[in-house]
């Protein structure tokens, strides 16, 4: 009985394994991203896989079990490092969790492409390697775009409120910082609260803020999920308050198109993933890569929301891509 169970299990696993057999391509890329429990990284994975197919590159995408699985991500990268890939595409959970796992990769002199979240350069240097290139979005610039849009939407001197993510989150801080810089001296930031990236918490916080500041003109939320929660609170209050989000998730684009959210600043994890694969291919061809490549950030408002939705998860328009030029 027990042996039988074991065999059934073994056979099941074996079947899974066979179906996932590898194929032969001119270059093989190993990609390790953060938890796939978040749509952001699912689009990144999609970008990686579709670009790899387009470029004729073989790719294996692995991910951490969740956003807290720093060691699990390192373990998986360690396993990938055992195998013979031509380039390693890494989106680390923290600035340091993959450093040790990358040491054997560096020893084999394989290029390391860092996307989205940075690897701490000093720790990398201490461990004896450097990344070939970093591709990511500039959160400060994205926040500034949102701030500039807010300036267009509300009169100078209006009151605005900020909804941040988890306290101390680097991304949240950068986005808020960009927004504040853009509106400094022109708008009055009356309050900033943390809603932990959570829609319901943002809704509750916004409801309270609207009670406390009846003359509020606008909200900036550090991500779209929270912005959608804020928008719900604004609708319930019946007031005319502008809400701007950031990320460019599909629900937010729909909301902008429907005239609910005023705007969102779209980042493109799909493009980050795709550019990463291009960078890997270029590196495998022996090209010199630029150290730092900003991924596109676009402001989406009523004018371009439909076009963005149509192309989702790709951007609505063209964007600068140095790697594409290299591969030509």
């Amino acid at each position: 009985m027990r042996i039988f169970n074991g065999l059934t299990l073994g056979a099941g696993l074996f079947a899974t394994v066979i179906s996932a057999s590898a194929q032969a391509e001119e270059a093989k890329v190993a990609a390790i991203v953060k938890g796939l429990d978040n749509p952001f990284f699912q689009y990144m994975q999609k970008g990686i896989e579709e670009q790899a197919k387009a470029d004729g590159v073989g790719v294996t995408v692995q991910a951490a079990a969740n956003m807290g699985d720093a060691t699990g991500q390192a373990d998986k990268l360690t396993a990938l490092a055992m195998q013979d890939f031509d380039c390693y595409l890494t989106n680390p959970i923290s600035v340091s969790n993959l450093v040790q796992a990358l040491v054997p990769v560096a020893q084999k002199k394989k290029p390391i492409v860092n996307i989205d979240s940075t690897i701490d350069p000093e720790q990398a240097k201490a461990a004896g390697f450097g990344v070939s290139t970093y591709i990511g979005t500039d959160n400060v610039a994205a926040g500034a775009l949102a701030g500039e849009e807010m300036l267009k939407l509300v009169p100078t001197g209006s009151k605005v409120a900020l909804i941040a993510g988890i306290v101390g989150d680097v991304g949240s801080n950068a986005r808020i910082k960009g927004f504040k810089q853009a509106v400094e001296g022109k708008l009055e930031v009356v309050v900033m609260v943390s809603a932990d990236w959570d829609r319901e918490k943002a809704l509750t916080a916004a409801t309270d803020i609207l009670q406390a500041h009846p003359d509020l003109a606008g909200f900036f939320a550090a991500n779209d999920i929270m912005a959608l929660g804020v928008e719900r609170a604004v609708q319930t209050s019946g007031k005319e308050v502008k809400v701007i989000g950031l990320d460019g998730i599909i629900d937010a684009l729909k909301s902008v198109a429907a005239g609910e959210l005023s705007a969102t600043v779209a980042q493109y994890p799909y493009v980050v993933g795709a550019m990463g694969v291009e960078a890997c291919k270029a590196a495998a061809m022996g090209k010199e890569l630029p150290a730092n490549v900003p991924a596109p950030v676009l402001l989406i408002n009523k004018d371009n929301a439909e076009a963005s939705l149509k192309n989702f998860p790709r951007p609505g328009g063209d964007y600068p891509d140095p790697f594409r030029e290299m591969l030509k």
Binding site: M1, R2, I3, N5, G6, L9, G10, G12, L13, F14, T16, V17, I18, A20, A22, L36, T60, V61, Q62, A63, A64, A65, N66, M67, G68, D69, A70, T71, G72, A74, D75, K76, T78, A79, L80, M82, Q83, I93, S94, V95, S96, N97, V99, Q100, V103, P104, D120, Q123, A126, I166, V167, G168, D169, V170
Partner: protein
């Protein structure tokens, strides 16, 4: 005392008969043998399966990496085993690891020596275990409620003291701990081996171990014989906290920073390893080698699936299937 043979009671042949060792065939036919050794059978099965399908799996480098990756989970599974043996469960284990890591990081950043910081981290997580034990025994609150409460409390505490931000720990000692090796194994593996040996002796060769199993098996009976079951339970939770502290040190060494993020898979896998290891969730029956091998097996599973390029989506599913199967097998233990 004299032994009056002429007035013997009804039992015809007196005394315990000679120890009889069951034959191998009888052993193989005994369902409880398979239940007890589910983790070993599983591990051997996985090694064969992955060894055939992906030769890299059996390379020395990969096996070393696998053991290194398993070290943290092995230590945590041992802690969880002591608690489960008392028929309890420690849901705050992964959170305690996080808090231990954060305390280590902050103490180190505040200028403490790395040894002192490690001691402080272990003391803090042990204190959490102690608190769990005291609340469960003195407060007469069910274990999962208490540890769920401390799970949330610790999560908050970790965020508060860290301000939600990670702390770099650039200690050369920890770097050496994580990357250095002695003989065939890395230091973390030796730490795990030491933990297994110490825990095995504590469970099987000390009075505490017997009292732990008695408390988990039939607490009332144990108490009637004068075993202080409350103390035993408190000790079990404190050991669990202590193990969380050791795991926190290994974790910080491995990822180079202390982060206020809880890795929930560590908690789930620690319980899974305990189940795979043939430890009864109703208490009273435990081993140390079983859960350690269970932890190894879970790590080997993820390692093998990664090597085979199986999508990350399928990996939790595979772990889930194996754990539930193991739990099913456990039903035959009696």
């Amino acid at each position: 005392m004299s032994l009056p043979a002429d007035n013997a009671p009804a039992a015809p042949r007196a005394g315990a008969t000679e120890e009889s060792r069951p034959s191998l065939a009888a052993l193989l036919l005994d369902p409880s043998f398979w239940a007890d050794w589910a983790s070993v059978v599983g591990l051997v099965g996985l090694v064969i399966l992955f060894g055939i399908t992906q030769p890299v799996f059996l390379s020395v480098a990969n096996l070393q990496a696998l053991l290194l990756a398993a070290a943290i989970l092995v230590v945590l599974s041992i802690g969880q085993t002591f608690v489960v043996a008392t028929s309890g469960i420690d849901l705050s284990l992964a959170a305690a690891v996080m808090l231990g890591a954060v305390i280590l990081g902050l103490a180190n950043a505040a200028g403490w020596g790395v040894f002192a910081a490690c001691m402080l981290a272990v003391a803090a997580t042990s204190a959490i275990g102690l608190l769990n034990g005291v609340l469960i025994t003195a407060g007469r609150i069910p274990d999962f409620v208490v540890t769920l409460g401390t799970l949330s409390g610790i999560t908050g505490l970790g965020l508060i003291i860290s301000g939600g931000e990670p702390t770099m720990v650039g200690s050369t000692f920890l770097l050496k701990l994580a990357s250095g090796s002695f003989g065939p194994f890395g230091y973390p593996v030796w730490v795990a081996i030491a933990a297994v040996v110490v825990a095995h002796i504590a469970l099987y060769h000390t009075r505490f171990g017997v009292h732990l199993l008695a408390t988990g098996g039939q607490a009332e009976s144990a108490a009637a014989l004068g075993i202080r079951t409350d103390r035993v339970k408190i000790a079990a939770y404190t050991i669990s906290g202590f193990c969380a502290g050791i795991a926190a040190i290994l974790l910080v060494a491995r990822i180079g920073s202390a982060e206020p993020q809880i890795n929930t898979s560590l908690l789930l896998n620690s319980v899974a390893a305990v189940v795979l290891g043939g430890v009864s969730l109703f208490g009273g029956r435990a081993s140390i080698l079983g859960p350690a091998i269970g932890a190894l097996m879970l790590t080997a599973l993820v390692n093998g699936l990664t090597l085979l390029s199986v999508s990350a989506f399928y990996q939790p599913l595979a772990v889930g299937v194996i754990v539930v199967l193991a739990a099913l097998i456990m039903r035959y233990q009696k």
